[in-house]
Symmetry: C2
Subunit: 329 residues, 2 copies
């Protein structure tokens, strides 16, 4: 059996995670990493893998079955998505929720025109969490959805804290509020405000001589990012930040709480949760499973853009249909 030949576009945390994920999936192999940086500045962990200037990607059209786009959603993917889908089967983790419909349309046009298959917005949210929200609301049409994120590092919020005057470095954790999670889990169907669902915890390294009270006030009053939340600010040393807060854990919960029965008196809770030591590595593992699906969909003539909602779960597995039935049903 031929291995699925994979290319990585963008060698950041997720790109590196895809590289290690490929080692766990014996039916896949890494062919090349594509980068905007100087290729000679990058040393991969996989012997024999080419590092190529992203401008030369087109030359690999016949050598790569699926290109995994590991760039960011703000500026990289809006450009790369349709560009690469015109040349390759692609997987990406485009996660700007509000712009997914437009992104889907663009990638779909490019992929369909060149008989390629693109699975977009793959990861855990959007991704696994989307699947759980959709599945559970189809099963329990009368009910409420709840999504909680964390405990985990939010890059956007960490960046926002770092922009505050007097802040040298910072990490922000999004923390789901236990009481709210428990209330949902116990079928109370609460109405929860933004403030009641998550709190924001910041670990801040202040510049020498900076006014800590002002930093704290500036963070807590920042609109959109913090003003609507309970925010806790801890001042720590640079060493403490490095030794205790340099990992990238994350996680979250998706709940559906719904009722059934002739008088809808019976309550049911569906709960899905993840607890991740490394957000980028887990995301990368999801991407590689969907790369397998993209290769298979394309070989069956199923072209254009897809989402996680469109792909049968069996396409993510290396196992035969008979083994899936025996092993999992």
């Amino acid at each position: 059996m031929n291995k699925i030949r994979i290319g990585i576009v963008g060698y950041g945390n997720v790109g590196k995670g895809v590289e290690t994920a490929i080692r766990q999936n014996a039916d896949t192999e890494l062919i090349a990493v594509f980068t905007r940086r100087n290729p000679e500045s990058i040393v991969t962990k996989t012997p024999g893998v080419k590092v190529v200037d992203i401008k030369d990607a087109a030359k690999f059209k016949n050598d790569i079955d699926v290109m995994i786009l590991c760039g960011g959603s703000a500026t990289d993917l809006p450009k790369q998505g349709s560009e690469f889908a015109a040349m390759f089967n692609i997987i990406d983790s485009f996660d700007t929720h509000a712009k997914i419909p437009e992104y889907f349309e663009n990638v779909n046009n490019a992929a369909a025109a060149s008989n390629k298959t693109a699975v977009i917005s793959v990861g855990w949210d959007p991704g696994l969490f989307s699947m759980m929200r959709m599945l559970s609301s189809a099963i329990l049409p009368e009910g409420n959805d709840y999504t909680f994120w964390g405990k985990g590092v939010s890059q956007g919020h960490s960046d926002a804290v770092r922009r505050v005057s007097g802040v040298k470095n910072a990490i922000q954790y999004t923390v789901p509020i236990d009481g709210a999670v428990e209330s949902v889990r116990n079928g109370k169907n609460p109405e929860l405000s933004i403030r009641q669902k998550h709190l924001r915890e910041c670990f801040v390294v202040a510049e020498e001589g900076a006014d800590r009270a002002k930093i704290e006030a500036d963070i807590k009053s920042m609109p959109n990012y913090f003003a609507d939340y309970e925010t806790v600010v801890h001042f720590v040393s640079e060493e403490e930040l490095k030794s205790n807060h340099s990992k990238m854990p994350h996680g979250g919960f998706v709940f559906r709480s719904g009722k059934t029965g002739i008088d809808t008196v019976n309550n049911h809770i569906i709960e899905f949760s993840i607890k991740l030591d490394s957000n980028p590595e887990f995301t990368a593992n999801v991407l590689v499973a969907y790369a397998r699906a993209a290769a298979r969909l394309n070989s069956e003539g199923s072209y254009g853009a897809k989402t996680v909602l469109d792909v049968p779960l069996s396409y993510l597995s290396t196992k035969s249909h008979a083994d899936l039935i025996k092993g999992f049903l």
Copy 2:
């Protein structure tokens, strides 16, 4: 838009649950209930629904889009599955895990020969739990699976207790052991024996003058059912059994605990759980969502037997593709 016309075969707890589930799904309508009992002895909760002798089902070939088989896996479905799949699109909840491959084969042959679509073994285990086991092991190829059932009533074990001499009535709950669940949730990847995962709790009404110590010993030593477990026996009155133990709650947990990274040092936990006030009603709601999928698969010419692993999630929803992207991704 035409509604999906549904027939129910077998009007027990699950059949009644399907009837109420149909009320929650505006794109479905109940046409008839098919029974082996005297049709006149059955009063449905839905006005205008026919109650028909199961022998006359063939007459409804043109009136029903999907037949939902609500009989048992021991004797009903092995016979009904292929018989009905030769005439109708069907959904069933065949749950004898070891016999699913053979059952799939038989139903597939019948359905494929008559251009019908059958989704078999739908429910929560097999069903949702199967999906979670497969999905999470595709994402985390290096890891361990854990399934816990309960707290919930096991009919098979309740029946076994009722057969013990001196027992008038009884209910058995399967209870996952908290410490074991917590250990898995915390990424300890424990090896768990049967006894360490679940305990069995029995509520027993003894016949007057019966030897309670002997009943308890007989239950606890019963091979296959109880001997391998920690078993707790409570003696209660008939009234207490009726008022406190006549509901049919159930639930359970599926975990995948897996590692990623260059030295596989990062651990990830995927957890899926359900907590159900009514096992048959929840199962029925899953069946109805898959009835929608079966109707659509059939209209697209996708014939034969399928499992939950073969059906894209989007097929379970009434929403358009654009609305699914907007609402769930």
